[in-house]
Symmetry: C2
Subunit: 156 residues, 2 copies
DNA sequence: CGGCATCCTTCGGGATACTG
DNA sequence: CAGTATCCCGAAGGATGCCG
């Protein structure tokens, strides 16, 4: 349980690395427990806001648009429990509580930037693929089934 | 709608880039529609398996452990609709259907490898943070509330 | 083999009201 | 201000059965 452990057992840079992991029987994808955390409707947004410096509860409530009191609290608790947020309570009256991201959370945020880049790069392509798919569904509804191997996809 | 568009409007390499995006009023995180896709319980696993070459429906059913027929079909349809999978039907009897990932999906997979790396690097730290958090909860249950600013987090 | 249709359960998450 | 507690709903997902 040493602290300064910044080594990754084996960096995965390419798909080949992932394949190798599979061969060795290990998991090449983020564990569900992690994905479920960031998959929640609010976790990432909270991390983004809290990465800009200490932020108070009510500030978050206003900034993270659409979040309910309940979900804000729940998500904050989970993130805190996972060591992604640091919660500081000032025992004043009225109470003041500040949240800010840990370095670990910032690293996750940076990793997620790759996903952001992907979506920015391919969002148009996804939209086009959907149009094609939906249109084919309609056409297929009128005509009979085709006799040749069917490939549905969008040209890249 | 040109095809060979491999340019990203603005590559996000650092948190500073993301901050800049925020200033300009743009979204620094992957859109929900994308996150929701990969957040599903099975999408990523399917992409991983299908990235190794054409794979048949029943093969997926056996490989992706725990998936139900229903969810496998649903997830495959969604991925296909988004242009992440290419579905090939051989009109033989009995029918044969093969799925394989598109280049776009492979790029997403590679982006997710960063998240995988993150979780491999920090999983122990997260586990430790949870233990600390849970232990503090118990201690706090017995004693009164503390009078000094409380910081709950794990040393990094 | 590769689905789709149906039913049912679980859980994330919203609305609202109360509290130290 | 910063929460907790309760109720409720819709969507995700599991189980099962039928079908071309």
């Amino acid at each position: 349980m040493s602290q300064g452990n910044t080594d990754v057992p084996g960096q995965l840079k390419t798909l080949a690395d992932a394949q190798a992991l599979i061969e060795s029987g290990q998991c090449p994808i983020p564990p569900r427990e992690i994905l479920d955390r960031i998959a929640g409707k609010w976790a990432i947004q909270i991390i983004v806001v809290a990465s800009r410096g200490p932020v108070r509860f009510t500030e978050l409530e206003r900034t993270v648009e659409g979040v309910s009191r309940r979900m804000l609290t729940l998500t904050l608790r989970n993130l805190e429990r996972d060591g992604m947020l640091e919660r500081t309570v000032y025992p004043t009256v009225p109470p003041k509580v500040e949240y800010q991201t840990t370095p670990m959370a910032l690293e996750l945020y940076e990793a997620l930037l790759m996903v952001t880049n992907w979506s920015r790069k391919h969002s148009a392509c996804v939209a086009l693929a959907r149009e094609n798919y939906d249109r084919r569904l309609n056409e297929e509804a009128s005509s009979g089934s085709s006799m040749t191997p069917t490939k549905i996809g969008v040209a890249m």
